[in-house]
């Protein structure tokens, strides 16, 4: 399966999904003009990848801001991971937030509520 790479813009995050290592990274603020159009290929890729993934799938997120559409799309991805986890697949999310923005931790915790797969929340130093 091909990797998925999308470059960051001022309003959309960088996406780097590696189908060999199982490391899926989304980094940057997310408020694209057409959120669902932006996330459609990402969600589709995750869905397809989970069908064939054998080893651990680690979704690493560092997204300081998300608009409402992006929040919804991210929850769709988490749903896919939750289903995979229920089917016995090894999945995890690592949510990184900027140390200087403690409220971001609350946001991450809100996301992780009701999810049963490992959801790690890590503070990273601000640039």
């Amino acid at each position: 399966m091909d990797h998925l790479f999308i470059s960051a813009t001022t309003s959309s995050p960088a996406v780097s999904f590696n189908s060999e290592t199982g490391v899926l990274q989304i980094t940057g603020e997310s408020y694209p003009e057409n959120t669902f159009e932006f996330y459609h290929p990402i969600i589709r890729w995750v869905k397809e990848y989970l069908k064939i993934a054998v080893d651990k799938v680690a979704l690493q997120l560092e997204m300081p801001y998300l608009n409402t559409g992006s929040i919804k799309c991210l929850m769709d991805i988490f749903d896919l991971l939750e289903d995979a986890h229920e089917n016995g697949q090894n999945v995890e999310v690592i949510w990184r937030y900027h140390q200087g923005n403690p409220r971001a931790q609350d946001t991450a915790e809100e996301f992780s509520e009701d999810l049963t797969f490992p959801f790690l929340i890590e503070a990273v130093a601000c640039e």
């Binding site: 801001y65 998300l66 608009n67 409402t68 929040i71 919804k72 409220r103 809100e110």
Partner: protein
């Protein structure tokens, strides 16, 4: 009504319906759709909660940015832009309430020589100490700003000529006691232009009048305060 109550009520109604229509082929479908509805509702609530959190974060960041844009990074006082905003707000309130306010425009004497002789680091330290000294002499609702390089503007709401002069004197005295490099044999001094604004006028005019008085203080030998007089308009001082 909370969503929890909604959900509970719907469950109750379903239980009542179950007694009558439990065997109906569509009843199972109804139960399934109800569950789906609640799942989507919980999801929508979650999106809204996270959206609100994001919104709050933006508001806080905006406030920090606004504060940063109106502050002087060296002294922590308001910068010129911040001061304009604050003075305009204060002045329009005081004009409405028919309360006078005073402006003090302060310029450090011989600051260029101090900077040239001892370097910018020493100059910056002095400016920071001066800012702290100004704040020590002001009330909580007075406003103090770094107006330019070594120029500071003080706004004293609800002031009289007497209280204006008293504050200006205290500031002058405090400045003379600030610690200077040992090689500098004189005390640090400043020239202050004072203006008491009694009637509504453009804020730029008020500042200009304090400025004229400050230039007069410089011309009269520095290290003193001078009160604005209309006659100064005709005899503009050129230093």
């Amino acid at each position: 009504m909370s969503n929890h109550t909604d959900e509970h009520e719907m469950q109750m109604r379903l239980s009542v319906l179950a007694e009558q229509y439990g065997e109906h082929p569509l009843f199972e479908e109804l139960q399934h759709l109800t569950q789906q509805y609640h799942r989507l509702e919980r999801r929508l609530n979650k999106v809204a909660r996270i959206g609100d959190m994001m919104q709050s974060q933006i508001m806080e960041l905006n406030q920090k940015l606004e504060q940063k844009a109106s502050s002087d990074t060296l002294t922590g006082l308001l910068n010129r832009a911040g001061a304009y905003q604050r003075i305009n707000a204060v002045a329009s309130y005081l004009f409405r309430e028919q309360q006078p306010f005073a402006l003090l425009l302060l310029d450090l004497d011989y600051f260029k020589q101090i900077n040239d002789s001892f370097g910018h680091q020493t100059g910056d330290r002095i400016l920071k100490e001066l800012a702290a000294e100004l704040q020590r002499n002001l009330r909580g609702y007075d406003c103090c700003a770094r107006w330019g390089g070594e120029e500071f503007l003080v706004v004293l709401p609800d002031s009289s000529q007497e209280s204006m002069l008293s504050v200006a004197q205290k500031i002058l005295q405090g400045i003379r006691q600030l610690q200077m490099p040992t090689e500098w044999t004189q005390n640090l001094t400043a020239s202050i232009g004072c203006y008491l604004c009694l009637e509504p006028e453009a804020i730029d005019d008020s500042i200009r009048k304090a400025d004229l008085a400050m230039y007069q203080a410089k011309a009269q030998g520095r290290n003193q305060l001078v009160i604005y007089e209309p006659a100064m308009e005709k005899t503009r001082v050129v230093l």
